[in-house]
């Protein structure tokens, strides 16, 4: 076999190696035990030696590094391997990135919650350092010298005498060495980093430029057919009867198969539907329109989002269930009469990744199933597919393709289960393709919401009380089918974890039944809470005639670590140790100072222009955004955005900047344009003409600044989004005095 290093050949051969090997034999990893060396395997001309779960050295001197998380545009296939390569002293030019299969040994592969670098930074450094020390040991043994006389550097091990051996030369010997214990690992000093933090170019860039990337939509298998599915129009609906005669008459159609929906909570199960299988997508889509289906609808058919939102707005005017409380807000509100209050709403939102969901499955005669799909959660995908097929998990192989955007949609593997069920029924490989219309209409939507805020001030214009209420259908309902109010873990997303120094503070939740599949979209509940809190701080400032920047700083008050566990509230801190990742007012204030300085906060602007500020901590990162807008003839134009992000230690400065740029655009779409509405239980929008996203002509100038920090690595993919919307609406207020309390802005002002 030709061993020329080419990502694609390597990926394929590597996968078959892993399978042949049954990677499960390694002893690993996350608890601090390093893996034992792995057996040797051979190709015709080249040998590969696996030093640990993430690192394999090839005798041609190239190195394979596993990326066990999903690439969806955040750059993880570059950012994770570059951490390993740095500690390994590898030459980046000689590194092949190999996508890991679904495998519990990697630890959590669910690429969600902005957690790839923050959860694996230490482990990946250890993997690199361990392999490097094994190579040094191998060289010392080869030369019969003490290991203290050798040093790995630039893909070589050097002896103090000047002689060298390449990593490829040492691979075989190194693979026989017992990996060092974690305590024996010597990690590099920050000053010696070659790759960590550096702006390495994405490893997939050459393929993107050549058009040779493989996304879920692009998978092709021998004898494969393409399926499109007509799904239950209303949540929980079932097929009463259907007639597929006309559909089957379409040239290219090979089969029509019913997918049974499940009863109870939707979870990650496919919706009930009728699938058309055909030799090409167009034939399937054309035939799908000719299906005659009679549906048994559910009470969800009575769901109208406009009405529902009015009910939520009414609900948040009333006392709800208390999550966090300190002092006595009621007493404070009766005592201090200088008050302000406001109610904010955010509509249902869709993920709308550029690549609609797609999955390919092969069900084999031996009872195994292999899938290729754009999934954020390969292990979950394996488990859901196994459950739906009624086979053991180890009979399912999950290959993660590139993801053409995901934003949380592709952590729900319902679409992969569809492909698996159809492949089994059709006895041939099936690729399920979601159309854009289906992506918009059958999404796991971001919850519609209303929030109410109230604040009181004393005679010195000091804030004395803060009351906040939020109401939205909970993600919990997707999994238990019954939960009717925001859950504690959801109020931790920028709502009950406000870091403000206010003596009387209370955060409540109000009921909200669900009628759609509720999911998580990039930054989750922080979307609405960032808008609510960010807007209300601005309204408070204007109420007492203060500069909004000063209001934010006053609310953070002195440098301190904030404890939000008040009145029985149990804060989860994004599943991270609060001691390692405390809530630090100093870091909030720092990003405020930096962003306002860069934006020239306070400068005089022409009439009709304004600056708006908002600040938010989520996924353990601190982000401040200033937006400059111009409002003319009832039309708003976002001119420029400044973003300062403190995400702790970072893996790749360029990809972090890119994530912040993308977050500004994502947040702008939410603020200005995007809105899903439901009528008779069905989503009314269908494609990009009515589910609008920001386009090139609306893209503003940007100034992105990443704070240099030695704090532990925090989230990057999501936390840029939450402060964007309020920075824009606050800027609109500054520009023209119009306060936007209901997103999106479109409909209240024109968008330029």
């Amino acid at each position: 076999m030709d061993i020329k290093i080419n990502n694609q050949i390597e990926n394929v051969s590597r996968r078959s190696f892993l399978k042949g090997l049954g990677v499960t034999s390694g002893a690993l990893v996350l608890g601090g035990v390093m893996p034992s060396s792995m057996p040797v395997f051979a190709m015709t001309q080249e040998m590969q030696y696996k030093l640990n779960l993430f690192v394999t050295i090839n005798t041609d001197n190239s190195i394979d590094i596993i990326c066990h998380r999903s690439e969806m545009g955040q750059g993880v296939r570059t950012c994770l391997p570059q951490i390993v390569a740095d500690e390994l002293e590898a030459d980046w030019q000689k590194v092949n990135v190999v996508q890991g299969l679904a495998n519990n040994e990697y630890g959590n592969q669910n690429t969600d919650g902005s957690s790839s670098v923050r959860d694996f930074y230490d482990t990946l450094r250890q993997m690199g350092a361990s392999a490097k020390q094994m190579l040094e040991q191998a060289a010392a043994e080869t030369w019969k010298v003490p290991v203290s006389e050798v040093k790995a550097q630039d893909h070589l091990v050097k002896h103090q005498s000047g002689k060298t051996l390449s990593y490829g030369d040492l691979a075989e010997t190194a693979a026989r060495i017992t990996p060092p214990k974690v305590e024996a690992l010597k990690l590099k000093n920050k000053a010696d980093f070659k790759y960590i933090g550096k702006p390495l170019t994405s490893v997939d860039l050459p393929d993107v430029l050549a058009g040779t990337t493989e996304f879920g939509q692009d998978v092709n298998r021998p004898n494969m057919v393409i399926a499109t599915i007509e799904r239950a129009p209303v949540l929980g609906a079932k097929v009463k009867q259907f007639n597929a005669d006309k559909a089957k008459a379409v040239k290219g159609v090979v089969d029509v198969i019913k997918i049974d929906g499940t009863d109870g909570a939707p979870a990650f199960n496919p919706l009930e539907g009728i699938a058309v299988l055909a030799t090409n997508t167009y034939a399937a889509q054309k035939a799908q329109k000719l299906l005659e289906i009679e549906w048994q609808l559910t009470d969800n058919k009575n769901h109208h989002s406009a009405e529902y939102l009015q009910q939520r707005k009414a609900m948040v005017q009333q006392q709800g269930k208390v999550h966090r409380t300190t002092g006595d807000v009621n007493k404070a509100f009766s005592q201090y009469k200088n008050q302000v209050n406001a109610t904010y709403t955010v509509p249902y939102l869709a993920h709308a990744p550029m690549e609609p969901p797609a999955a390919t499955a092969e069900y084999r005669a031996d009872g195994t199933c292999e899938v290729w799909a754009c999934v954020q959660a390969p292990q979950r995908t394996r488990d859901v597919v196994a459950a739906r097929l009624g086979i053991e998990k180890d009979k399912v192989t999950v290959n993660t393709t590139l993801l053409g955007g995901a934003f949380g949609r592709k952590s729900k593997p319902d679409f992969v289960a569809e492909a698996a069920l159809l492949a089994k029924a059709a006895k041939r490989p099936v690729k399920v393709i979601w159309s854009r219309e289906e992506d918009i209409q059958f999404d796991y939507v971001h919850a519609i919401s209303a929030q109410h805020y109230q604040a009181a001030f004393d005679d010195k214009k000091q804030v004395k009380a803060w009351l906040a209420r939020t109401s939205f259908p909970t993600i919990g309902s997707t999994f238990d089918g019954v939960a009717k109010e925001p859950q504690t873990w959801e109020t931790q997303l920028g709502f009950a974890d406000v870091p403000f120094a206010i003596e009387n503070l209370q955060c409540e939740v109000c009921e909200a039944p669900h009628h759609l599949r509720i999911g998580w979209v990039r930054s989750v509940g922080n979307i609405q809470h960032g808008f609510g809190v960010g807007s209300f701080v601005d309204e408070m400032a204007h109420q007492v005639g203060q500069d909004p920047k000063q209001m934010w700083l006053d609310l953070y008050a002195d440098d301190r670590l904030v404890d939000v566990n008040q009145g029985g509230y149990k804060y989860g801190n994004y599943w991270s140790d609060i001691k390692k990742y405390p809530i630090e007012t100093k870091r909030f204030k720092n990003v405020v100072e930096l962003v306002t300085e860069r934006a020239g906060w306070g400068r005089k602007l022409p009439k009709g222009q304004g600056l708006g500020l908002s600040v938010h901590r989520s996924f353990l990162s601190y982000i401040a955004v200033v937006t400059q807008v111009e409002v003319k003839n009832d039309t708003v134009k976002v001119q420029k955005m400044w973003c300062v992000a403190d995400c702790g230690i970072i893996s790749n400065i360029d990809r972090v900047e890119a994530q912040m740029e993308g977050s500004m655009i994502f947040g702008m779409s939410i603020a200005l344009l995007s809105k899903l509405t439901a009528k008779d239980g069905k989503i009314e929008q269908s494609n990009f003409h009515d589910y609008e996203l920001v386009r090139m002509n609306q893209s503003p100038q940007m100034d992105i600044h990443i704070v240099e920090s030695d704090a532990p690595p925090a989230g990057v993919g999501e936390p840029g989004v939450p402060p964007v919307s309020a920075s824009i609406t606050n800027a609109i207020f500054a520009a023209c005095g119009k306060r936007i309390r209901d997103l999106p802005v479109k409909g209240q002002l024109n968008i330029a």
């Binding site: 058009g211 939509q217 692009d218 030799t279 090409n280 167009y282 550029m354 934003f407 890119a658 090139m696």
Partner: protein, 154 residues
């Protein structure tokens, strides 16, 4: 059987004449560089060059492509008319490290190459006009704009 010419090569395909060119390219010819994003001419992910003009492959039936020259992302560097623009655009894309997920990028590159071929020093307004039909959910617009300017200077 219909005959279509893609990247200077003739292909015979057995599909209904109303089949959008996009699905012929992707499903029948298995050239997957041209992407599906909306199927309605709203996102630009499927952009190809049709006799040199940027065109949404999802919105033209294959019958309209018979006897015409179609160029896809896979063929832009081999097409002598656009190869210089294609090389300049690709180099600028590398310099600015433009793509995030990459899914929209074939379409973006096809649109940008077409722009540069016609206009060697596009203004911001020209770039907006040429690129506004190409959605990028990842938000790479600032870098695309910068890359087109870099390519124009090259």
């Amino acid at each position: 059987m219909l005959t279509v010419n893609i990247n200077n090569q003739n292909y015979q395909v057995d599909v209904e004449p109303d089949t959008p060119l996009l699905w012929v390219i992707r499903d029948v010819l298995a050239m997957t560089g041209t992407k599906y994003g909306c199927g309605k001419g709203l996102c630009g992910a499927c952009t190809v060059h049709f006799n040199g003009s940027p065109t949404r492959a999802c919105s033209i039936p294959v019958s309209a492509a018979i006897g015409q020259q179609i160029t896809t992302i896979e063929g832009i560097e081999d097409n002598l008319l656009i190869a210089p623009s294609a090389k300049a655009i690709k180099q600028a894309w590398i310099n600015e490290n433009v793509p995030q997920c990459g899914y929209c990028q074939s379409g973006q590159i096809m649109a940008a190459v077409a722009l540069l071929k016609e206009n060697q020093s596009p203004s911001d307004q020209d770039i907006d006009n040429a690129m506004t039909g190409n959605l990028c959910r990842c938000g790479t617009y600032p870098r695309i704009k910068q890359a087109i300017k870099t390519a124009a200077k090259a």
